[in-house]
């Protein structure tokens, strides 16, 4: 009999461990009559449609405490990971089955935004149904090998060697870089299928690729030392989209020209046309609005107001600014109003013409038929 006790103990322990997981299936403990009482929660859920430990998960976990500090009652924000389907599963679940009572938030990232922009059939969420609260950008820098014998991005027209680019997938973060090649008419052979940006960087070091990009922190950590040692040349930054929808220099790389400046130098005129419009659209959704925390648009007004207020106070919170420099890569978060405006603009820019163009581009250049996804 003692053995049975031991087994029961094991079982209980296991159930306990399973229950401890932050992703447990605890649904919100909200009550229905909160409309009259105003927003007075003590537990919020933050859905993260990615597994634990990834960039978005780390971002969400980091933001939870400072955000809660500015919400009335200082509710604890419990992170709930719902991984799978390249973040589509979790986001779908958020809009479909989580209570729209203002107690459930969701954090999305560029790889959640791209399938939405591409209108993939598995996507059931829409930015229309969501109200953005907090948003943060990241940046990207395209650099090349010194073997290309060029000094900077303006010389890209003189490259004699065949360019190889190592990436992960044509419908992931690489898309924006591939679009920048298309705009600049850089004839780089895209070798896709690498496991991540890290392995792609190793491919660059091995000489398997000679043009590559990294996002802000990774560029500063891994590539800047190489630039100093003369093993890599920065070419251009992908830039950021400003409030008016124009491409501007990245605040983290004020000395690097953007795609726009390189184009002007190479072609003597401002970039225009569908490729350029599409590039800006995706740059906005994947870099300028890389990480966004949302709440259901159908949540009670009082809840949304309280959350918006908290998001705005967060921006002014000096302690938060100091602590967040690593997670936010020294960028600043947007004010809630600005963020909302940016998302509205993004929605406005989405038209059938852009979608058709990107479908055609992906099919022609990378053999991906988005209609079948």
């Amino acid at each position: 009999m003692r053995k049975m006790y031991a087994l029961t103990l094991l079982l209980v322990l296991n159930l306990f461990l399973a229950g401890c997981q932050p992703l447990s299936i605890v649904s919100s403990i909200g009550t229905s009559s909160k409309e009259e009482q105003g927003y007075n929660e003590d537990l919020l859920t933050m859905v993260v449609p990615y597994g634990s430990g990834g960039g978005t998960d780390v971002f969400a976990r980091f933001m939870a405490a400072p955000l809660s500090n500015h919400i009335k009652n200082q509710p604890s924000i419990q992170v709930e990971n719902v991984p799978g389907g390249g973040s589509i599963t979790g986001t779908n679940e958020y809009v479909n089955s989580y209570d729209k009572d203002g107690t459930n938030l969701v954090t999305t990232s560029a790889s959640t935004h791209i399938p939405y922009l591409l209108n993939q059939s598995s996507v059931q969420y829409s930015f229309d149904e969501l109200t953005p609260l907090v948003g943060a950008p990241t940046g990207g820098v395209v650099y090349g090998s010194t073997d290309l014998n060029i000094q900077d991005g303006f010389d890209l027209g003189q490259v004699k060697e065949k360019l190889y680019y190592a990436g992960m997938s044509p419908t992931g973060l690489d898309l924006t870089t591939l679009l920048s090649f298309e705009v600049l008419e850089i004839d780089a052979k895209a070798v896709l299928g690498y496991e991540g940006r890290g392995p792609a960087r190793v491919a660059f070091e091995q000489g398997e690729s000679n043009i590559d990009f990294q996002t802000t922190t990774s560029y500063k950590q891994n590539i800047e030392p190489k630039v100093e040692n003369g093993k890599a040349v920065p070419l251009y930054s992908l830039g950021q989209i400003d409030e008016n929808g124009a491409v501007v220099r990245d605040p983290q790389f004020p000395d690097l020209p953007t795609v726009k400046e390189i184009y002007k130098e190479l072609h003597g005129s401002e970039p225009k046309g569908q490729a350029w419009e599409t590039y800006k659209h995706f740059l906005n959704a994947t870099y300028t609005l890389q990480k966004v925390i949302w709440v259901h648009k159908d949540a009670p007004e009082s809840a949304k107001e309280e959350l918006k207020k908290a998001a705005n106070q967060l921006m002014k919170d000096e302690q938060f600014q100091q602590k967040s420099s690593i997670i936010l890569e020294d960028y600043e978060i947007y004010s809630q109003a600005e963020l909302e405006k940016r998302i509205e603009n993004l929605e406005k820019n989405m038209n059938q013409e852009t979608i058709n163009w990107i479908y055609d581009f992906l099919l022609r250049e990378h053999g991906v038929d988005v209609r079948k996804l």
Binding site: K3, M4, A6, L7, T8, L10, L11, L13, N14, L15, L17, A18, C20, Q21, P22, L23, I25, G51, S52, G53, D57, V58, R61, F62, V79, N81, V82, P83, G84, G85, G86, I88, T89, Y164, A166, S169, P170, T171, K189, V191, L192, G193, E195, G198, P199, R201, V202, A203, Q206, E208, S218, Q221, N222, P225, I326, I327, G367, V368, V370, L373
Partner: protein, 493 residues
């Protein structure tokens, strides 16, 4: 280097850090011990706590946990024939037959001792690799990685048992299951039948548990009686340690193999136990692998703990995670205000060295702790199977459900489990299926990249050719050698 190593040791031995390391060790052993839960689950449990912690304390906690998962996971593998985590499947092959003979304690003793030595060797490998990691990692380009996955797949042939054809078919089945989900290079979904659950492919814990544990559950019910056919347990832990000491060379070899495979990014360290097992089977003469040979426990157990040291090299220095566990570790680093990369060798060198020490110390403490647990836990093998089954079923289902928290996990577990049961009835070897499953995506990925990048030119790369020759020798050499030795035996030499 040596001076900073000693300095790092003094940091690690600080009482508060030792305390956190022990907490980590405790959790690591528990998640290892529970079938289905492994390092990834342990990591996700600890992640919320490391937020804002002093990096030395946080790392003591995380690495302490990682280091001993493969020490604790030996228990279910040996006692019940169910993998404790996805890294200890090969231990079943001989550990479980030993338990059936009533020699569970002996097998556990050998396994734990080897886990300890393997883990220490892994730590040393990490230390030695620090100065030369960068050139080493960049020397594996895609064609070489592709050939290495082929080498791994050819190991499936070695584990095929009596019928190579069945082994090959089983491996191919694994490759097919592995190709479920999105293709590595082109956004394209295969065999997903419009289920979003399948779009990321099946996860390793689900497949590994189903293929090995599910059939055991059925066998336990049908073959009334306990695991151990003998009524009393013979042989103690110390006998096992003695067995291990007699095979010093095998431990060394397997541990070095383990850390090397862990070190190569993108190869999927999760088959390391099979590779060590296969290599042992190939190189040891007069073995009875598969029927309860203690050396069949020693080889994989030395390798799976050593792997962790190796796999930390690409993780810490390049930010390239080799497994789910190390991927979460990277997130943990960021939460503690650090970033993996070259800085781990310069400004953060003392932290890197403290990780080495933590690995070594945690492996020793973990193994000793487990050895004291062997005696009570080994009695599990005396409990009648039908009483164990309900507990195990729930444990396993929870384990499977941990992977994605979706119903699909449980359906996949049952479907693959039935496949595993059919394979046991038909006497088809299951290890090749698992190796095929794990290596499917890497093989496809690096093949695609090699062709896209180099055309057919890569076939003339000297390293590719030498690995190719090695594969041919492995596949044919065995049978030739066997013939020669059979002839010699027949002639009575």
């Amino acid at each position: 280097m040596i001076e900073s190593a000693i300095e790092a040791l003094s940091i690690v031995l600080d009482p508060s850090r030792i305390l956190f390391m022990c907490l980590g060790i405790g959790l690591g052993i528990v998640v290892g011990l529970l079938p289905g839960l492994g390092g990834t689950v342990g990591m996700s449990l600890l992640l919320p706590f490391v937020f804002g912690m002093d990096p030395f304390v946080g790392m003591a906690l995380l690495i302490g946990m990682v280091a001993v998962v493969h020490t604790g996971d030996t228990f279910p593998s040996v006692l019940l024939g169910i993998p404790g985590s996805s890294g200890s499947q090969a231990t079943i092959m001989d550990g479980f037959p030993l338990a059936k003979k009533g020699e569970a304690s002996r097998a556990m003793g050998a396994a734990l001792f080897c886990s300890m030595i393997g883990g220490v060797i892994g730590g040393v490998a990490l230390y030695l690799a620090i100065p030369m990691a960068a050139p080493l990692i960049t020397s594996f380009n895609s064609p070489v990685l592709f050939m290495l996955t082929m080498l791994g797949l050819s190991m499936a042939g070695l584990l095929a048992g009596d019928s190579p054809a069945k082994g090959a078919l089983s491996g191919l089945m694994g490759l097919m299951i592995g190709s479920i989900g999105s293709a590595p290079a082109i956004t394209e979904y295969r065999y997903t039948f419009d289920f979003l659950y399948l779009s990321n492919g099946l996860s390793l814990p689900v497949v590994a548990l189903a293929i090995f544990a599910f059939p055991i559950l059925i066998t336990m019910l049908t073959h009334k009686g306990s695991v151990a056919e003998a009524n009393h347990l013979k042989g103690g832990v110390l006998k096992g340690v003695g067995d291990a000491l007699k095979n010093k060379f095998l431990i060394m070899r397997s541990a070095v193999l383990g850390s090397l495979i862990g070190f190569i990014p993108g190869l999927g360290g999760s088959v390391v136990d099979w590779l060590a097992y296969g290599a042992g089977k190939k190189t040891i003469r007069n073995n009875q692998f598969g029927e309860g040979d203690i050396r069949g426990v020693i080889a994989p157990e030395s390798a799976n703990n050593a792997k962790e040291g190796g796999s930390l090299i690409p993780t810490l220095l390049f930010g390239i995670p080799g497994s789910g566990t190390t991927a979460i570790l990277l997130g943990g680093l960021i939460l503690m205000g650090l970033e993996a990369g070259p800085r781990m060798l310069t400004t953060d060198l003392s932290l890197t060295l403290s990780i080495v020490w933590t690995l070594v110390i945690a492996n020793i403490i973990g193994a000793i702790l487990c050895m004291t647990l062997v005696k009570p836990i080994a009695k599990l093998s005396l409990i009648p199977g039908e009483k164990l089954v309900p507990f195990l079923t729930i444990l396993l289902l929870i384990g499977a459900y941990q992977s994605n928290f979706a119903w699909g996990d449980i359906i996949a577990f049952i479907a693959i489990g039935l496949l595993g049961y059919i394979m046991t009835i038909l006497d088809w070897p299951r290890p090749p299926l698992l190796i095929g499953f794990v290596l499917a995506i890497s093989a496809e990925r690096y093949y695609w990249i090699s062709i896209e990048r180099y055309g057919w030119e890569w076939l003339s790369n000297p390293i590719v050719i030498s690995i190719g020759v090695l594969i041919v020798i492995l596949l044919t050499g065995g049978s030739i050698m066997k013939k020669i030795s059979n002839n010699l035996q027949r002639e009575g030499v």
